[in-house]
């Protein structure tokens, strides 16, 4: 068992610096962007499932929760799904627009004994988040410290972020948001909500609420390279496994488990609002890898045209009949 890294150490070294980056705007890219990200280590072996993190998250973020207006505007066409959690705000055994963190449980064999492992689940805060990059409107943004957040003042509730998220994390509440002021029956459907890593607390140099509330020190937060190293060290100590380092091309939430994640994934209850712990390929990589082709394409086109021009100029110097000239009698 390593000396527990005190939350204060990371707060001082990591959060203070990273928090100031959270406010930066514009097209700023670092050479190793994810090395400037804040990551969290979640040690499953230490979690007792008390739910203090879930409670703390709800209390801290309740001011950000949806405030839907009823009756909801009728949406066209009729198949458009209404997502209403406003009467079920107490539900805390899955992700909802009002519950951004929940405890997933898995009964597995650990060292020959049947054990119930409990796992706090929320947004993974991917290093290159599809929910941010693929939102067609721009309601979601990522900060330089890696935190991704849906701006519910901008969100139209299209739910594409949920569809492109490998874990389908964002959850929708109908009846709230900007879409009400635009074309509520034709476009939009509410607002999407998910864990925002308490970005406002982090910007002030504080810890996310779930981390601060945990009585078992299940989570630690700090600069990503250190967290990754910590995760592997902890996994080595307990003969365990790491999840979240490479999934979807890399996330800033690293789980350490005493049993393989395939085992956990098979044992947990999965479904809407209950994300899996399985493999997640980096699906943005396919298109991003075409970047080189995008650079070469105009050069190739220009070169082809120049080549034809060169051939035409050369051809003019030689005696060749024009195709339209009639043959001389």
């Amino acid at each position: 068992m390593p000396k527990p890294i005190s939350r204060r150490t990371f707060l001082k070294s990591g959060l203070a610096a990273a928090g100031t980056l959270a406010a930066t705007d514009g097209l700023a890219a670092a050479s190793s962007p994810r090395n400037n990200h804040l990551a969290t280590l979640i040690d499953i072996s230490r979690c007792v499932g008390c739910g203090a993190c879930v409670e703390a998250c709800r209390e801290t973020n309740s001011s950000k929760f949806p405030d839907p207006q009823k009756p909801f505007p009728k949406m066209m066409p009729a198949r458009v799904k209404v997502s209403d959690w406003s009467d079920k705000q107490d539900v805390d055994d899955r992700l909802t627009p009002y519950n951004w963190l929940f405890i997933q449980s898995a009964t597995v064999m650990v060292d020959g004994e049947e054990t119930e492992l409990t796992i706090p689940r929320r947004c993974m805060h991917c290093t290159n988040p599809p929910c941010v990059k693929l939102c067609p409107w721009g309601a979601s943004r990522q900060y330089q410290n890696g935190i991704s957040r849906i701006d519910t003042d901008m969100c139209l509730g299209g739910s594409k972020c949920k569809a492109v998220c490998p874990w389908n994390i964002p959850q929708r509440q109908t009846g709230d948001g900007l879409y009400l002021d635009l074309l509520p029956s034709l476009a939009g459907n509410g607002i999407m909500n998910k864990c925002d890593r308490c970005y406002d607390r982090v910007a002030r140099g504080e810890s996310p609420a779930c981390i601060e509330a945990c009585p078992e020190d299940v989570q630690i937060i700090g600069p990503r390279p250190e967290i990754v190293a910590q995760a592997h060290e902890r996994a080595r100590e307990i003969g365990g496994y790491v999840y979240g380092e490479h999934e979807n091309g890399g996330t800033n939430t690293l789980y350490v488990s005493p049993v393989p994640f395939e085992t956990l994934n098979a044992a947990i209850e999965k479904g809407p609002g209950r994300p899996h712990l399985g493999p997640a390929a980096d699906r943005m990589a396919d298109a991003n890898n075409l970047g080189a082709a995008l650079l070469i394409a105009p050069l190739a086109g220009a070169a082809t045209a120049l080549g034809r021009f060169y051939k035409a100029v050369r051809g003019k110097g030689q005696t060749r009949p024009e195709p339209t000239e009639p043959p001389t009698p």
């Binding site: 514009g26 409107w137 569809a163 995008l294 105009p298 035409a312």
Partner: protein, 160 residues
């Protein structure tokens, strides 16, 4: 065929095959582009047999990138061809200038969005929305002006 033969219709249009390819490409770009918004599933279009892929975001995303590669190649080819072969005899028309500027806006905003999709680019919501609206508005304008141009038999170039 002699290499100095200009295999282009006298009115300055693209050669037939390239024109067909270009129009199909524009159609695919518009389709995959609009598919970035969650509308095809909502409006039953993805229910049409064979069109289910229109609701698969990563598929339409990739197709849009592939189409952009082809579009950039054609665009550069056409531009250099105009600057070298065509300019002695033809010049850009007002219609061509308009469509050219609109297309340049589409391409520029599109490329900025490509850059944004890489890790390490942190745009503000405002900037993302601005690029989004500009890209979408320019596309709609290009399509509308293009439809009018097709109807009125407009050309991008005219004889000097």
């Amino acid at each position: 065929m002699p290499t100095n033969a200009i295999s282009r219709p006298a009115d300055g249009r693209m050669p037939g095959q390239m024109r067909y390819f270009y129009m199909t490409l524009l159609f695919l770009m518009a389709l995959s582009g609009f598919g970035q918004m969650p509308i095809f599933k909502r409006y039953y279009i993805a229910d049409i047999p064979g069109l289910g892929w229109l609701a698969q975001f990563y598929v339409t995303h990739y197709i849009h990138y592939l189409g952009a590669v082809a579009l950039l190649a054609i665009g550069a080819y056409t531009l250099v061809r105009y600057m070298t072969v065509e300019r002695p005899r033809r010049r850009i028309s007002p219609y061509g200038l308009l469509q050219g500027l609109i297309m340049a806006t589409i391409v520029l905003t599109g490329l900025l969005r490509v850059v944004k999709n890489y890790e390490g680019y942190y745009l503000s919501s405002g900037l993302i929305v601005f690029l989004d609206i500009l890209h979408l508005a320019a596309v709609m304008l290009f399509l509308l002006v293009g439809l009018w141009g097709l109807r009125s038999k407009k050309r991008w170039t005219k004889i000097r």
